[in-house]
Symmetry: C2
Subunit: 212 residues, 2 copies
């Protein structure tokens, strides 16, 4: 299957986020035993338009059959391949607080192939304790740990004041992706991908509309 017809440049983050959504919808349909699905019903389930669905998929190839629609399992597997979920990804977590804890134990990540193999914190009370089979390590040993066992992605769940230093640390450790939950602007060098997730933004958006 020819994924990516050379026009990857034109694929926007919006499309990627929707693919991620199609993946979840298709997984659900598969679980329910649904065999085929049209762009129209996929669109309805995702609260978008059928043109959007077809356009999104068209960046990566032709996955459907005219007159019939898409085979659920086939399309799901195509999207899994596109999103890179057909392999194992290793993660390092920085910050073993409440949020770090929730991320580490979030089953969805493991099911998607994302595995935390390091957890770092600066709190000596936490260092040495174990989360599943991962021992919490003091952040001062992070560089060393990352040299011994490198990871693909660094996940930042520290207080905002620490985020910048931790990002530098994990980038020097060789990660190619950073997922930042700290509500502060951080910088990564060329060639490293950064995504920011800010839990307050959605809540503040709600309070804006509720105030009107």
């Amino acid at each position: 299957m020819a994924i990516l017809d050379g026009n990857l440049e034109k694929v926007s983050e919006f499309t990627i986020r929707r693919l991620s959504n199609y993946f979840r919808i298709l997984s659900e349909l598969e679980k329910r035993g649904v065999v085929t699905v049209s762009s129209a019903s996929l669109a309805e389930l995702g609260a978008i338009t059928s043109a959007q669905v077809r356009k999104d998929l068209s960046y990566f190839g032709s996955f459907g059959t005219r007159g019939l629609g898409y085979k659920v399992v086939e399309l799901k597997e195509a999207i899994v391949a596109i999103l890179g979920l057909d392999r194992r990804w290793t993660l390092a977590l920085f910050g073993a607080g409440f949020l770090g804890h929730a991320l580490f134990f979030h089953d969805g990540f493991r099911e998607d192939g994302f595995h935390f193999i390091h957890v770092f914190d600066v709190d000596d009370a936490k260092v040495g304790t174990k989360w599943r089979d991962v021992a919490i390590t003091h952040q001062r040993h992070a560089a060393e740990s990352l040299r011994r066992e490198p990871v693909d992605i660094g996940v930042i769940a520290t207080p905002p004041s620490a985020a910048r230093d931790v990002v530098d640390l994990v980038v020097r450790g060789g990660v190619k992706g950073v997922l930042n939950f700290a509500p502060t602007q951080v910088q990564v060098p060329e060639g490293v991908w950064l995504r920011n997730v800010n839990l307050a933004v959605a809540l503040e958006s709600l309070s804006f509309y509720l105030s009107q």
Copy 2:
């Protein structure tokens, strides 16, 4: 100050999310004792353009002084008022799992004026225990609790399979906003605002770009 010149209709969710970001940047500048800031430096701190900053603010009024820029505290307070952060908001949490725990104890929310006054779960082992001064209540008593003490916003941190029912429950309880962390499509009636936050999306976006 004339916030909202009647063109609120034209304000996009993109603008609101950036306001939320300006708010954090301005808070940081205030803490550092910075008195005035230009759209250019605000833009640099937020990794966008100065035209974007001025355009975003222009939907709500004129907050700056030509030739000088914006007073940090004044602009911050204007944005606080726009986002509705100048009042107390009450929240009900559904799902006392890892994620619910992280959300409940997340200091940033309380600092912004968002207060969880109810926590519901279906696990009898959790029911009766307390988080700070909030007793975890069985979900079957949620309707009753919400009647006694209504809230502004329902926060859904249940497994996806439970999300739909819980949303119906909380909407019948009179909330005007729903913040859904469950990775499943939910529906709310006209007049209720919904925001979805999916922790997997950002990670899957990273794996997509890292795969290329």
